[in-house]
């Protein structure tokens, strides 16, 4: 059983005929040919496959492609289409990565995280969940903890994102 799905990926429309069980990650990598999101675990445990759907960060390995019909999907490739996105530039400036495999997911997650923050979403690190959060080191670290980095670039990622937040 297959179904017609239109994915808008990084600004381009892709009409796909896919099975309902196909994940967004598989659809992007194997049908659309966009290998920017990476498969680190396929279980929603590592964050390497993070993309933005309608501006919100999602784990594409746990998202069915059919539910993204006509949705705006943005990968790290799309974020950098017309020059590096400020988050990408901050990662370059702070060497916020080594092997680079988790990086597209980190970048998308960071963009989504900064948007959540600007909307006032609290995190586990927020002392008062009703108050407007401050983007402190521990807030950034907590909010980015769904994206594992085995190379251990966290100590560079946090200052990179504080830089972006401070500059915006």
């Amino acid at each position: 059983m297959e179904t017609d799905v239109t994915l808008r990926v990084d600004g381009a429309e892709h009409d796909l005929r896919i099975e309902p069980r196909t994940t967004l990650l598989d659809a992007l990598r194997e049908r659309v040919g966009n290998t920017s999101p990476k498969r680190g675990c396929d279980h929603g445990q590592c964050g390497s496959c993070t993309v933005l759907v309608g501006g919100r960060r999602v784990l594409s390995c746990l998202t069915l492609a059919v539910r993204c019909h006509l949705a705006e999907v943005t990968t790290a490739r799309g974020l950098g289409q017309s020059g590096p996105h400020p988050v990408q530039q901050a990662f370059l400036d702070h060497d916020g990565f080594q092997c680079g495999f988790c990086t597209p997911g980190q970048i998308c997650s960071a963009v989504g995280m900064l948007s959540e923050f600007s909307q006032g979403h609290p995190s586990h690190a927020s002392a008062d969940v009703a108050a407007e959060p401050d983007l402190t080191e521990s807030e950034v670290a907590e909010r980015m903890s769904g994206n594992l980095c085995r190379c251990g670039a966290y100590a560079n990622i946090v200052p990179a994102l504080l830089d972006v937040a401070g500059g915006s």
Binding site: R39, Q88, Q98, C99, F101, G152, Y154
Partner: protein
């Protein structure tokens, strides 16, 4: 030896050259290789630790192309390495062994076929439970990296009997899985004569050597490509069985590119791990803290399939002065998956035992832990009697202490948190592999240096261009490095922190040959090749990088929760090629060391015959919230003996000593001495006030 006297590029802080590709996700890893109409391979793994496969039934899933089965798959030319003799017969030697593979037109179909496959096998009694008290421990012929299994100088037993103060303790480290973020992946294409492998590997040339041998192919018929590698930490240092299966699958479907990306779960049985170690450590000391004896006796499990002996006793042989010394290694061979290298094999677990024992001795003596180490600084390498090419341990301890704010340390309490600090030494050998070749070509005002090296996140793309630039005496902007392809000259594996030292030496030699042949105004198309052998100074000097790691640990007085708000490492690792990427490697190693100290452990259930912690929900690695204040620096060290660049290697030393520094700090904070990693709150809770 040729040295680079006029350095312009080496030492410059440069953004990694492949960075733009990585932050957009457009750097192609092995599973991203652009190929036409790929097919997808999924593995079938043994459901038992010992026995025999008696049948594999795979239903006719739409899109299924073929099935490979244990016992009936392609016969390999060489089956000398049992780990790689995959599918050759029906015997099962460990749980999670590859016993079959399905190949289908789509990833969904391959996954479905593997899920529906019915495997029948006989079960035999399995032996997977490790204990240091087993009666079948044996002495391996040698331990990893070719070190002798046992060593003895003087009479340690007598030194222990006559010493003013002794420490005799047993320390244990857990089972660790490398878990690079990129699962081991291959895209394989067989055109009927030639095999092309896009591989996630720390060495394209070593993979080619293995594959040509296993399949009996001429080297020129196998090409391995690996421009970007999503981490390895040792598990991608040598080809594992999955690479052979990917090649078999490709050979079964000529002309069709086959993708085989391991699942995270499969990585727990197929690509190696660091074994547990049980280390009995002995220290004999005078009342004023001068060691008369040191000893380390290591017991570890290994696999019956292929032996791997983690050389945890090796650093004790050379770390501190003492006339009486003894080390040994014993193994228990079990029906378990094959262990392998993991970041700083030997030094990483060994220096946990060594450095916690030194902390215990310092406490016993009432001597500052840094002072104790300084008092036992050897004049020459105690293991070999050779002078050190350079030894910066004391400088690291002293300057690190100042930077960290060590003096006046005191256990105190901030609110509900018990606060303490700890220190440990780091060490890692400065290896250089005996063979690598680099090629230089000049055209259109630019130089291209080619060598089949690897960048696992290590900054190789940038660092090799820096070395070539200084070798040639030109700005680094005029030099491009090309790596990660067997079409390029032979490069040794990115392992043992030897990459830059080895490949860089070949590049310096190529640059020298280039200038000798073509002068400073070369014609377009001018070329030269440089090849290196062993470093002659290796026999004259003991060559090591050193470091000192400092940790501040907070333990919650009620819950036992452990936090590390501050980790600082000071290193003496020779010349630093690119400070930006070097710092990343060092803090990366320390972050993995923190992870080892507090989070990581693979738990083996002997009834199940394998580790039951097979994903990131169960096998915990440090997250951003666990380790975002990690800092590293280094002292300026000029070692003219190691290689022309003066580099010592920095990929591994960062993980050595971290866990000891954290455990020592937790002891300082709480008074509780935990000798069994990981340090988790349940172990601390009974000791809290």
């Amino acid at each position: 030896m040729t040295t680079l006297s006029d350095r312009q590029a080496i030492g410059r802080d440069l953004v990694r050259r492949e960075g733009g590709l990585k932050v957009t996700g457009t750097a192609p890893y092995a599973d991203d290789a652009e190929v036409d109409s790929p097919v997808f391979c999924r593995l079938l793994l043994s459901p038992t630790a010992r026995g025999r496969v008696t049948g594999i039934e795979v239903p006719e899933v739409p899109g299924l192309l073929t099935v490979l089965r244990a016992g009936s798959a392609e016969k390999l030319t060489s089956t000398g390495d049992d780990e790689l003799a995959v599918l050759q017969d029906t015997s099962i030697a460990f749980r999670g062994q590859i016993i079959g593979a399905v190949i289908a037109e789509t990833s969904e179909a391959a996954r479905e076929a593997a899920r529906l496959a019915r495997v029948a096998c006989t079960e035999e009694p399995q032996d997977t439970a490790f204990s240091p008290d087993r009666d079948d421990l044996y002495k391996p012929e040698k331990v990893n990296a070719g070190y002798p299994t046992d060593t003895a100088q003087g009479d340690l037993d007598a030194a222990m009997r006559t010493a003013d103060v002794t420490v005799e303790r047993t320390y244990t480290t857990a089972t660790y899985h490398n878990n690079p973020m990129e699962p081991h992946s291959t895209t394989a294409l067989w055109d009927g004569e030639n095999l092309l492998l896009w591989e996630s590997t720390q060495g394209v040339h070593p993979v080619r050597e293995t594959v040509t041998e296993v399949f009996g192919l001429a080297p020129e018929r196998v090409r391995v490509v690996s421009p970007h590698v999503g981490g390895g930490f040792g598990s991608k240092g040598a080809a594992h069985a999955n690479v052979i299966v990917a090649a078999m699958a490709a050979r079964a479907l000529p002309g069709r590119p086959v993708r085989l990306a391991l699942t995270r779960r499969e990585m727990f049985s197929l690509v190696g791990y660091r074994t547990r170690t049980v280390m009995r450590t002995r220290l004999a000391s005078s009342a004023d803290g001068v060691l008369s004896g040191v000893g380390m006796d290591v017991v570890a499990p290994t696999s019956k399939v292929t032996e791997f002996a983690e050389q945890a006793g090796v650093p004790t042989r050379m770390m501190y002065a003492a006339p009486h010394r003894a080390t040994s290694h014993r193994l228990a061979a079990l029906d378990v998956p094959v262990p392998t290298w993991m970041r700083a094999p030997g030094e990483c677990p060994g220096m946990f035992g060594n450095e916690v024992a030194m902390d215990e001795l310092a406490e016993e003596l009432g001597v500052d832990p840094i002072e104790l180490r300084v008092r036992n600084e050897p004049a020459v390498d105690p293991a070999s009697g050779k002078p050190y090419s350079s030894r910066g341990l004391v400088a690291c301890l002293r300057s690190g202490a100042e930077r960290f704010g060590w003096s006046g340390r005191r256990r105190h309490r901030v609110g509900d948190w018990l606060v303490g600090t700890g220190v440990a030494s780091s060490v890692y050998p400065a290896f250089r592999m005996p063979h690598s070749t680099a090629h230089l070509r000049y055209a259109d005002g630019r130089y291209v240096v080619s060598i089949g090296a690897a960048d696992l996140g290590t900054g190789t793309w940038t660092a090799l261009a820096q070395i070539a630039a200084d070798g040639l005496g030109v700005p680094v902007e005029l030099v491009e490095a090309r790596i990660g392809d067997t079409d390029q000259p032979y490069a040794s594996v990115a392992g043992g922190s030897s990459g830059i030292s080895t490949w860089g030496s070949a590049i310096v030699e190529a640059a020298r040959a280039f200038r000798e042949k073509h002068g400073t105004e070369p014609p377009d198309g001018a070329e030269a090749t440089g090849e290196i052998g062993s470093n002659p100074a290796q026999g004259q000097y003991a060559m090591y990088a050193f470091g000192a790691q400092f940790a501040e640990v907070h333990v919650h007085a009620d819950t036992g929760e452990i936090r590390v708000p501050r980790l600082f490492g000071m290193f003496a690792a020779g010349r630093i090629v690119n400070p930006r990427t070097a710092r990343s490697q060092l803090i990366g190693g320390m972050t993995m060391g923190l992870s080892m100290a507090l989070h990581e452990t693979s738990v083996l259930d002997p009834r199940f015959g394998h580790v039951v912690t097979q994903d990131f929900a169960d096998y915990h690695v440090a997250t951003c919230a666990d380790a975002y204040r990690v800092e590293a620096d280094w002292i300026d060290e000029h070692d003219r003996h190691v290689n022309p660049m003066g580099t010592k290697g920095i990929g591994e030393i960062g993980i050595v000593g971290t866990a000891a520094a954290i455990v020592n700090a937790a002891h300082h904070a709480t008074g509780a001495r935990i000798r069994d990693l990981p340090l988790t709150l349940d172990k601390l809770l009974p000791h809290l006030p």
